[in-house]
Symmetry: C2
Subunit: 148 residues, 2 copies
């Protein structure tokens, strides 16, 4: 599904309007993208992080199904379109300066949000406090599910 | 506090190493920054989203206190250094391709993470499903606290 014409979002306002207003004026970067944080509606854990262009954002709002812009494929990307792990939006929020989105979702299919086959993309810990630099080693999170 | 010399993180490996390995090889973008999602350790709600450069990341790992790079001020930024709302890291994770970080934190001071004085930067809802474009209007979230 694609929109025949992507609706234009409202232009950015003053700092006060961005922060205190109710006009939705998302900030797209030089590449036309806005970052989106996706959390699980039940556990609250972060599942993934990706980018939307105006078309992906409009489709997400209109359909309630999460769409991204794939930077690697340079294409509109309905999340889960191939895997079946579709993200249904339970709630979407914008941050204070409207340059990032946060979505709480219900994951369809087998519930695995990550392309590696795991429930979440965030399956490894960075030990903190710890040694920083080339000596930093990740640790598999206790709650990480196995790779399929 | 600043490091006299920022330790260099390990260079990026192959896709398999990035995804399945335990070497921490964070991806910094063309501006030398990596995005960081910050969630509340208790509620799981997203509190804010900001960027770290290598020095801010190293300081965060070594001290357990969140540091960012302020793009607007072009300066190292100890979160809460002025407001008292310091973020103590409870857990830090990297995502599958190690180009975004997720931190669970305990907020010191009055617990307000947002510079507007609210607990979270995500205090407004984007109604979904809804009309997309200039007609999209935000709604104050029921759990949003008042502006001070």
């Amino acid at each position: 599904m694609a929109l025949t014409k992507t609706p234009a979002f409202a232009p950015r306002g003053s700092k006060a309007e961005l922060e205190a207003g109710l006009a939705f004026t998302p900030k797209f970067d030089a590449d036309g993208l806005i970052p989106a944080i996706v959390s699980d509606m039940h556990s609250g854990e972060a599942l993934m992080f990706a980018f939307m262009n105006a078309e992906a954002l409009a489709l997400t709002i209109e359909t309630g199904v999460v769409h991204f812009w794939s930077r690697s494929r340079a294409a509109l990307w309905k999340k889960g379109g191939e895997s079946g792990n579709v993200f249904n939006v339970v709630e979407m929020r914008a941050d204070c300066d409207q340059d990032v989105l946060w979505l709480r979702v219900a994951v369809e299919g087998d519930g695995h949000a990550c392309h590696t086959g795991r429930r979440s993309c965030f399956y490894r810990l960075v030990p903190v406090p710890g040694e920083a630099g080339a000596a930093t080693h990740l640790v598999l999170a206790p709650d990480a599910d196995d790779t399929p």
